[in-house]
Amino acid sequence: MTPAIVARGLSKSFGHVVALSGVDLRVDPGEVLGVVGDNGAGKTTLMKILSGVHPPTEGQLLINGEEVRFASPRDAQRVGIEMVYQDLALAGNLRIDENIFLGRERTRQLGPVRLVDHRANLALAKQHLDNLNIHVKSVGQLVEQLSGGQRQAVAIARATAFDGRVVIMDEPTAALAVREVRKVLDLIKDLKTHGISVILISHRLDDIFYVCDRVMALFHGRNLAEARLADVDRNEVIGWIMGNKGGHGVPDRPDRTDEAR
């Protein structure tokens, strides 16, 4: 199976600060990869490279086996990489369908002018939400009338509305009430059945262990460890986050992290 996305040796420096150094990553179609690491481990930088916000200083990106270079998030979207933000980047004063299609609205030609085809957008949005098993009273509702979990569901729907193949989620449950977290996680699990890959950044190990197939840890801008979820336990992953690859006890810094300093 060709991986949905492969990153090889990604490095990124901001001036003298090395944020990322030789990071590899692979996600298969329909796989959920969890990315963990302490603050400053390079998770956000990695996601920004994958979603086209920053170009890498070095390294290679392959989408479905073909090398790509992104000059902007638009380029990443064009090959099916979408981003879901923790702060729910939605316009509350617009309808659900308008948020899903914001910036990519269907239009129809009326004489000399091109008008938004509200009816088509509503119908397409409804179909898409049904597909993802997301239930709302009406797609014509304003987003501000939705709960936090429903909003995050709309954000995920937006990310997958345009043939999104890889959806990157940065702490998608951080802003949610506890009882809504599970529903959003179930929605992420559901994306697998559509063959969509998810890269999930989260501080919540509960989230990671509930939804991921594989987990990888970054430490000081480098790959530290990686395993199928079935092969690790929670304490090991906590150890990784603290830079402790081997056992569960005393921190035992691997050599490579010393190089990174």
């Binding site: 998030p73 638009r74 979207q77 981003m83 933000y85 702060d87 980047a89 939605l90 316009a91 509350g92 004063n93 617009l94 308008e98 948020n99 914001l102 910036g103 990519r104 609205e105 239009t107 002018v113 091109r114 008008l115 938004v116 509200h118 098993n133 997301i134 239930h135 709302v136 009273k137 009338q145 939705l146 709960s147 936090g148 979990g149 429903q150 569901a153 937006r158 009430a177 009882r179 809504e180 529903k183 179930d186 929605l187 559901d190 059945t193």
Partner: protein
């Protein structure tokens, strides 16, 4: 598929009640300002039963408020983006005065009619560019500067004195009448209605128009979905300036002149009309119909107080009271809405 439980609204209010409240809120959002117009109309009719409903008086209200209607329309688009344009009154004066000065210089009338549009749009583009490319921290500052610059230019090109006498063709839009079914209808009424229709189509039914609302609702969301926020903002300020110029053309027509003090304080009337019309000062909310109602409320209030021989100072006081009352009511309504 089929395993995800439905995501439901996190609220203990029964659905029926919730949606009834939501529907009421939407209804008031849409038509609340028209309610104030009805109240104003009834008040006016009771106070002045012989005069208020005469065609002459109604035509008068429209003719006198036409220029404010265009100013408010432009201001509205800016306020939807969570911005403000303090320069529209001065832009009106500059557009009007440029037209008058060029008229004296013997420029032919077709060019004279174009002048206020070009001047207004140019001022608007400068506002928009200053705001976006110069990264001014808030449109208040950029347009406050422009308020002074445009007013200064108006005085500079006219020597600070009024210039009267414009070609009839130039005056037609602001002062002309057309006979519709035997009634003499001011041309400016048609101008206002067409402009409002055009802006309504733009805001509700074009992609750029929807992006204007998105920017007002959450500029970050607009940006990450690929909306060109800066370009949209420049366009909105340009349109606002263009309408201010148009407004100057109407006022020049009605008064057959350009005078340097035209439109002083008009930016505040325009903002008042937009707010009375139910638009949110914080962006993303409001309708063209509401703005129209807001303009009518101000126009009718002035008309009523004039007809009743009330001192002009009372007009200011009452407009102030209405602004505060309308917004206070709105805040109260929203609080009730969100508490449930």
């Amino acid at each position: 598929m089929g395993v995800t439980p439905p995501l439901e609204a996190a609220s203990d209010v029964p659905d029926v009640e919730r949606s009834r409240l939501a529907r009421l809120t939407t209804f008031i959002d849409r038509f609340g300002a028209l309610g104030i117009v009805l109240i104003m109309g009834t008040l006016s009719y009771v106070a002045q039963p012989d005069v208020f409903l005469t065609t002459n008086n109604i035509a008068n209200i429209f003719r006198q408020t036409a220029f404010l209607a265009l100013l408010a329309l432009g201001q509205f688009m800016v306020i939807v983006t969570a911005g403000i344009d303090l320069s529209v009154g001065s832009t009106l004066a500059l557009a009007m005065m440029s037209t008058a000065v060029l008229s004296v210089a013997g420029v032919p009338w077709p060019l004279l009619i174009l002048t206020p549009f070009l001047v207004g749009a140019a001022v608007g583009v400068i506002n928009g560019v200053g705001l976006t490319w110069l990264h001014m921290p808030h449109p208040f500052i950029m347009t406050l500067g422009m308020l002074n610059i445009a007013r200064g230019l108006t005085n500079l090109i006219s020597g600070g004195v009024p210039i009267s006498g414009l070609p009839a063709e130039v005056r037609w839009l602001g002062a002309g009448n057309v006979s519709v079914g035997g009634l003499q209808v001011p041309v400016s009424v048609g101008v206002v209605i067409l402009s409002y229709l055009a802006v309504w189509v733009f805001l509700q039914h074009t992609r750029t128009g929807r992006h204007v609302y998105a920017i007002g609702g959450n500029p970050q969301a607009a940006r990450v979905t690929g909306v060109n926020v800066d370009r949209t903002l420049v366009l909105v300020y340009a349109l606002c300036g263009l309408l201010a110029g148009f407004s100057g053309l109407l006022l020049a027509g009605r008064t057959n002149s350009g005078f340097p003090n035209a439109g002083i304080g008009a930016e505040l009337d325009a903002i008042s009309a937009v707010i009375i019309g139910g638009a949110s000062f914080f962006g993303g909310r409001g309708t063209v119909l509401g703005v129209f109602a807001g303009v009518l409320v101000i126009g009718m209030m002035r008309n009523l107080l004039n007809l009743s021989n009330v001192q002009v100072f009372w007009q200011q006081i009452l407009i102030g009271v209405v602004i505060i009352a309308v917004v206070a009511f709105d805040v109260l309504r929203r609080r009730i809405g969100s508490a449930s």
